[in-house]
């Protein structure tokens, strides 16, 4: 009986498990192995073990450390901004004042767009002929030359971060809003009878209650952040002068422009490691003592 049941179960699971193993698990193992080889990506027979050479090279590669730095800035700043905006606007929408539905829909729409489209929309807002520069120069006459939102190395990364926050803050808002719906009203009321103001109620009742949600959302933001590719690829292709280079765009260039497949694989291992570490942080963020 046990055996028969296990076999019946295996039949249901098999297609997904096979697909998963071949197209996700195997590539992960393969990329880790490739990271210890030197290979131009063409002939499989020419793959040669190179030990930790690739990782040693990463250590002395200035472009890699620049890309890593930009990725960390992107992930850190966008995660903070997404959660501040997400929670703030969820609280605002939760007041159910007139217009809350409008804000909800306006924040929701970008979630359905391709990051490629987001990149194009923001290029058209912030480009030299974009809306913002037109406003600054033609309408308000506060500048005579356009601001290089995408062309100025000091500004470009912040432009990419802005576009990412615009696209995904609705995601955080929806999750926080859902969390707020099960807020214990009696505790809030008890707090206000005890004389707690709005801030104290938020700080000592709402926020601790939401902590598990915050943990999940932050981890999802971190994992999503390490994935950033097309926003940068389309908006700036990593430029100007590597000012927006991130790990995934550098990997893409090494693998598909320079045919340095072994070296690119070592960058992939770094990306996978960062995502794994982020996922493991959830329990700690939630304050679980397991």
């Amino acid at each position: 009986m046990q055996h028969r049941r296990a076999r019946a179960g295996a039949i249901f699971i098999a297609p997904a498990a096979a697909f998963f193993s071949v197209f996700l698990l195997f590539p992960i193992v393969a990329v880790i192995l490739l990271a210890f080889t030197s290979w131009n990506g063409f002939n499989i027979d020419e793959i040669a073990w190179s030990g930790v050479d690739n990782f040693r090279q990463l250590g002395s590669d200035d472009v890699f450390s620049t890309a890593l730095g930009h990725t960390v800035i992107f992930v850190a700043v966008s995660t903070v901004a997404l959660n501040v905006f997400g929670l703030l606007f969820a609280l605002l929408i939760n007041t159910r004042v007139r217009g809350h539905d409008f804000l909800r829909v306006a924040m929701f729409l970008p979630l359905g767009l391709a990051p490629v489209v987001t990149a194009i929309l923001w290029q058209q807002i912030l480009g030299p002929y974009g809306m913002v520069n037109t406003l600054l120069i033609e309408t308000f006459h506060v500048r005579t030359t356009p601001i290089g939102f995408l062309g100025d190395p000091d500004v470009a990364l912040w432009t990419v971060i802005t576009a990412a926050v615009w696209q995904y803050s609705g995601f955080n808002m929806l999750l926080y809003y859902a969390g707020l719906q099960s807020l214990p009203m009696e505790r809030l009321e008890a707090a206000s009878i005890d004389g707690a103001g709005a801030w104290a109620r938020f700080r000592y009742v709402t926020l601790p209650f939401l902590r598990p949600v915050v943990a999940v959302v932050v981890v999802l933001n971190l994992i999503g952040g390490w994935k950033v590719f097309e926003l940068v690829y389309v908006m700036t292709s990593g430029g100007p002068d590597r000012a927006t280079e991130v790990l995934s765009t550098y990997l893409y260039q090494q693998a598909f422009s320079f045919n340095a497949v072994g070296y690119a694989s070592s960058i992939a291992v770094v990306i996978i490691a960062l995502a794994t570490i982020s996922a493991l942080m959830r329990g700690r963020l939630a304050g679980e003592t397991v």
Partner: protein, 292 residues
């Protein structure tokens, strides 16, 4: 069973709402409309560009002084959007069918035929949720080339399916777990096979979560970029996203109005689906993220 959106069912009034003074509610209202408008600016601006004449686009005006809907037909024919739409549609439909099929079966298997081994496989598949596409794109590309699937829509379909499975299985398993075992046991007592118990008893109850999984898969696949970029050879005969990125690079500086029109055309189908099915999206978020 069909958990409606939290917003629809939960009655308790918001914390600040009931008590707030009228001036404060008015101020909150203004903030809602103001921020909402800011969120809509990028879409509105591109929409306004898409109906201008070329000279109007570069005239440094905020408000359009021209109206040229022919941009849409021009963009369609000049940029060969037809083939891009077709490819995006084939890949999306193929991926949704495979992902839904495989994740429904697997979710049922994981839920009803639980063994130590199956739980290990379940956890392993869930770990797929955090795999960044860039991390595995190299072996993926190499395998597809070795299998002679490079430059085929099928290669993109199997790749997108692999990335869609973990979330699909997670969402669906939660729902299958909530269906009483008595239901399927009763069917078995009546002589139904495993397969029949699944198909006639459980499957019909899964319509809402299946819609959720289909919606998530549709969005991620229609909007997907890295897989078609790497796996399809010619960007002019790739998917909409890859095609748009090429157009933006090539014509973004000269024919902004046509690129804008192309972008608007590309997002209309997905936004229609997204807005029409938003209920399922919100359900999926709660089921997928908050119950972990």
């Amino acid at each position: 069973m069909t958990a409606a959106t939290p917003a629809a069912t939960v009655a308790p009034r918001a914390t600040t709402g009931a008590r707030s003074s009228r001036p404060r509610r008015f101020a909150f209202s203004c903030v809602c409309f103001g921020i909402g408008a800011v969120y809509l600016i990028p879409l509105a601006w591109t929409l306004s560009l898409s109906v201008r004449t070329n000279t109007d686009v570069f005239s440094n005006r905020i408000v359009p002084h021209s109206f040229r809907p022919a941009n849409f037909s021009d963009a369609w024919s000049q940029f060969g959007l037809g083939i891009l739409f077709e490819h995006s549609a084939i890949i999306t439909v193929g991926t949704v069918v495979l992902a839904v099929l495989f994740s429904v079966l697997a979710a049922y298997g994981f839920s009803r035929y639980r063994t130590k081994m199956s739980e290990v496989v379940f956890i392993a598949i869930l770990l797929g949720l955090m795999v960044p596409p860039a991390g595995v794109i190299i072996p993926f590309f190499v395998s597809m080339r070795q299998l002679h699937l490079y430059d085929s829509l099928l290669s993109v379909i199997v790749g997108e399916t692999a990335f869609a499975l973990p979330l699909g299985i997670l969402i669906l398993r939660g729902f299958v777990d909530s269906i009483p075992v008595d239901l399927t046991d009763a069917a078995r007592v009546d002589g139904a096979t495993d397969w029949k118990a699944f198909w006639y008893v459980v499957f019909p109850l899964l319509k809402a979560p299946i819609a959720t999984v289909a919606l998530f898969t549709t969005i991620s696949t229609w909007n997907g970029f890295l897989l078609p970029l790497v796996l399809l050879h010619d960007p002019q005969r790739s998917t909409l996203t890859v095609g748009l990125s090429r157009l933006q690079g090539q014509y973004g500086a000269l024919n902004l109005e046509l690129v804008s029109a192309a972008a608007i055309l590309a997002i209309i189908p997905i936004l229609v689906v997204f807005v029409a099915a938003r209920r399922y999206y919100v359900q999926g978020l709660s089921a997928g993220a908050l119950k972990q």
